[in-house]
Assembly symmetry: C2
Homo-oligomer: 342 residues x 2
DNA sequence: CAATTGCGGTAAAACGTTTGCACGTGGTAC
DNA sequence: GTACCACGTGCAAACGTTTTACCGCAATTG
């Protein structure tokens, strides 16, 4: 009973008109008489006509699909941002092809390859934390596939991106702690090569010097963001001469891991040692000892913006192929959100 | 400098052979001479040839894309299961098109429509909790697009699905509580029309009767799974004559909401009143007052299985269109995981 | 009245690939 | 010497759509 889908030709045959007329009628082309239009549309409905998108994609050299590559959907930040992407894409009749790199460069490369083959019209990426090589991104440029990076952006020059201004967020976070009386403030930062790590460090230094506190490099340690990495970082901080009374962590997951570690070491969390972190995930509100505050990074908005830019780029490449020397660099302000005491 | 991608014809022209020969050579067709093959492949590499997938999709009436529709990626259960789906899809050269229903029937219908238009080869769905109408699924059947449901499955007859056996999981959960000495055990169930709710209720009843306890219907209440719904449900349970000393909740999110509510009502959690729930999310381990135990529903495996079945179905439709009277109904056993005391 | 314009429509090319079929050339078997 | 086969290759159709070019006819314009 596998009925073949109706085609434009079938409609044409039944109505005894040429199939190009049918095509135009369905697109409300002005040169088609009202009567014909009506008859065509009527017949189309009757036969349950649905345009064959694969044929259209092929013909138009366009798939109305955007590829989204991100490290890990189970991180709330990314699952929220993909919702922003999806919503915006949908509004513009685009569809989302998904790929998770699981923070592996190798997988990231493979996914880029697949998406290129699938002829996505554009790509949005938040890069894996282990990506050191950028050739696969360069290759996209060569193929004229527009790319927008978000949140985790590579250190490349001529790219479009949207990200949060982590400097100001970090300044807020550190200042908040200073205002609470802390003088020795530690930081568990992310992998050094991440742009986001650099920003946090800059913000940290700014906040310290602004408040006339000396910047002690030994108080800023790096974690690879795994549980073990964070534990190592904590160990280092706790061993430090200038015992920190507060710690700024790279994100909420790191914060929670660090807090667990502190508890294990018999520290009184938010008394002996306080925490402030990034991401502002709902998870913290359920936690036993949540960080005092967290910097909101607006994942939904980042996703949304990135998609808007990408769509603009995809339209542009068609019209004016040159004049591609303007690069979007959207910075969204982050914001420290204090957590309510229960 | 927007260089057009190389086509098969271009290669043919340069080598002065017909493009069908090129096509065959690239596919290692046996009728092509070794020399030609080599020359073609050499030239292909040189010109950086990449087959135009859209053309192939069109020609083969196949897109190697599977649509995945689920309620909410920010729920850990789903973000884990999509990883299972993606991994399995990738292994089989398929790509994943994503859609979130956000638990809206309307959106679900729209997404199904979009995916149909995109000519996905098959669809995996976990239905929205508000979906009451199944017409959009029926329409997929009409178009011969295979569908596999997982976890949240509709009450339809001739469908393929994979789900967890929640009955046995619930029996384990309730028995666990009984063994701990509880006699008056409440349940906050999900929306009544969900299959998963029905199973939990069945399991609850089974466990009670097996242990020679009377089943009191007033101890089983429904929540729409929102914070408010859960609070209402809790209120009802706490007001009940037979004050429950333990509560089984629909999932970990409900548990956490219920626990917060209990705390607000000055109940001592896990003393006055204990909780056991479903999903076994990492979130619980960070929580102040986690449920005593949680039933693992194996989201990754469910995603994996669903994808495997779908792939099998997609291959089948091509070969033997009839004999479609066998329906996969895969049941994965769930498992109660006690949470460690810290 | 001749020239232009607008309308309603048709014909055909193009997009890149796969694939059934035919063709030619050797060689082998009878 | 004819018939047949295997091999290597080319031709052309097909997939469904959009779009360019064109055609005939009527109405409008100068």
């Amino acid at each position: 009973m596998e009925q073949k889908p109706t085609t434009i030709k079938e409609i044409a045959k039944r109505l005894n008109i040429s199939f190009s007329t049918v095509s135009r009628a369905l697109h409300n082309h002005k040169n088609i008489g009202v009567g014909t239009k009506l008859r065509v549309q009527q017949m189309a409905k009757e036969l349950n006509y649905e345009p064959n998108q694969t044929a259209i994609f092929f013909q138009q050299r366009k798939t109305f699909t955007i590829g989204v590559i991100l490290p890990e959907l189970s991180e709330a930040f990314f699952s929220t941002s993909i919702t922003g992407i999806e919503d915006t894409a949908e509004k513009n009749k685009y569809t989302v092809l998904l790929g998770q790199s699981h923070d592996s460069e190798e997988r990231e490369i493979k996914i880029v390859e697949t998406m290129k083959n699938h002829r996505v019209d554009g790509i949005i990426i938040s890069i894996s934390k282990n990506t050191v090589n950028y050739e696969h991104f360069e290759s996209l440029r060569k193929y004229g596939i527009p790319v927008v990076f978000f949140d985790r952006i590579p250190k490349m020059n001529e790219i479009h991106y949207v990200a949060c201004n982590m400097i100001s967020g970090t300044v807020q976070a550190v200042s908040y702690l200073i205002k609470k009386g802390h003088r020795s403030i530690g930081m568990i930062n992310g992998p050094e090569k991440l742009f986001a790590s650099q920003e946090r460090k800059d913000g940290y230094i700014q906040a310290m010097t602004k408040n006339r506190l000396k910047f002690d490099p030994s108080l800023v340690v790096n974690s690879d963001l795994t549980l073990e990495g964070t534990q190592l970082a904590m160990e280092e901080l706790l061993k430090s001469k200038r015992k920190p009374t507060a710690i700024v962590t790279f994100n909420d997951y790191v914060a929670l891991d660090a807090i667990q570690f502190a508890l294990k070491k018999k520290k009184k969390v938010n008394k002996d040692i306080s925490f402030v972190s990034f991401a502002n995930l709902p998870i913290s509100s359920y936690s036993a000892y949540p960080p005092l505050a967290s910097v909101e990074q607006h994942p939904y908005i980042q996703g949304q913006k990135a998609t808007e830019i990408l769509i603009e780029l995809m339209n542009k490449t068609k019209q004016d192929p040159l004049q591609a020397d303007a690069y979007y660099k959207i910075i969204i302000e982050s914001q420290l959100i204090p957590h309510l005491k229960k």
